[in-house]
Symmetry: C2
Amino acid sequence: MIDAKEYLKKTSAELDGPIKSYIGNEEPSNLMEASKQYPYRGGKRMRPAMAVACCGAVGGDKSKAVPLAVAVEYIHNFTLVHDDLMDGDEARRGMPTIHVTYGMPTAVLAGDALFAKAFQIICDLDVPADRMRDALRYVSQAVWDLARGQQMDVNNEGQIVSEEVYLETIKLKTSVLFAAAAAGGAVIGGADAKTVEAIHDYAIETGLGFQIFDDYLGIMGDPAKTGKSNSNDIRKGKCTVMVTHTIAALKDQPAKLDEFKSILGRMDATEEECARAKQIMIDAGSIDYAMDMARQKVEGAIERISFLPDGEDKEFMVSLARYAIDREL
Amino acid sequence: MIDAKEYLKKTSAELDGPIKSYIGNEEPSNLMEASKQYPYRGGKRMRPAMAVACCGAVGGDKSKAVPLAVAVEYIHNFTLVHDDLMDGDEARRGMPTIHVTYGMPTAVLAGDALFAKAFQIICDLDVPADRMRDALRYVSQAVWDLARGQQMDVNNEGQIVSEEVYLETIKLKTSVLFAAAAAGGAVIGGADAKTVEAIHDYAIETGLGFQIFDDYLGIMGDPAKTGKSNSNDIRKGKCTVMVTHTIAALKDQPAKLDEFKSILGRMDATEEECARAKQIMIDAGSIDYAMDMARQKVEGAIERISFLPDGEDKEFMVSLARYAIDREL
């Protein structure tokens, strides 16, 4: 079986050149610099790798999907620039966020610029115009949905929402862009509508697994490995499936529920209090519940693409789905 | 000759329905509400009117250009939402700006959502995919340029830049979207490449005239008619061709130049001081200089499309260019 992490490193190195090739030395230089920051800082590059692999898995010429891969990575980074601004986060991948270095106006514009550049790149895809249009449909829908998902995330903060709302939120804020990358890659590869749809659904499920696991890492991850505190999501009262499960599980234990709620969402909660909240979640079976759910999503994802012919690209798609919920950061 | 203002009122009324038809009742409702605000508040609708007229002027079916007209209006409004946030402006068309009513995160996302919706709409244009691609190329390039122009505007504030930099800035922040609307409309109308390019250039020149005149209104306009102070651009030290001309014209009058510079860009400048700065600009011939320049741009714009067959749409294009520099707000 392909080691997804190793394979991602390889494709990431291959995509590095293209990712750095689309923003040149136009004026004004501060906007160009700011726009390049996040895409150039690296990352797992899961979305672009998915675009290329899905093109290959349907028998397409993978080189034709590289611009789409770059476009999707730019869109991902555009959302990160705006998210960091909205959340007031000060660091990303160990370096200052855009609004910290360049100020709020340039952060807004750098995000907008990355977004625009992504659509320029898609426009110039070296495929027939009707296929470009099909890929564009997925990507533009994804960005619309991303904004909705981010807004739901903002609305949910400090709220206890239902599991259904949580799943809808993470689908919109995470899965849809995975799906646009995957379906777009398949479209470029010349897949028929049914195959594109199956690959789209594979990516939706993989994205759900990825985000559930991301939320898991947010409270159970090792800060030395993830590079971020595993108490802040509790302090922020971040709404996750683990939280919704704990609240439901404790409905007959009012004292414990009160204790849990008294810690959740309190920005000045101590490390000890956060550890206590985590223990309550573990005891309630909420961590296991979330991990089971993430595993189900990933197995569902893999099932969706079982009909694809065997080969390296399909194998990578399978291992990428597994990797989504088996990683340290 | 068609009265552009009356004709704009008519097309604006016709486009009102389509403009209000693309954002539905999806979740989350606060994002939908925030996104609708600016497009629903009205405005001159010059860009959408231009898209439709240019389609008609080349013999196309104008109804096919309506979605593009809506998309361009959404993009215009997306930039207004983000600009108002960046500038900290509190009112737009007599009502609170988005960040004032909904907060910064929702203002960022409402802009992003309008941007995404515009590309979804373009994707679904009822024209062959290759024509959709050509229109998309103009629009995505325009949004990239818009971000550059806005950043240059941010960079220029409080600076004295050359006339060349000023013209490049207003071309990027204003003309390119006029040009995308016009060229996109012509593409949808089935125009050949040379005609599309001429119409593109017509709109670039019209946009330059429009923005030079907009800057003129910013200091010489009647607040009772424009709805905004005519001193704030002086207090902000807004860089315009009038300012660059005044600075150059006063190079042998150091005392007057110092007086002018001592007022420009001072947020606490009194109404009397601002009036004095304006008088210095008038005496330096800078207002006349700017108006001459605006007129030249507009005449250049009209010249570019002189080859188009006569008809109502061409007539409107001509009067729209003239209206760009002959309006009260």
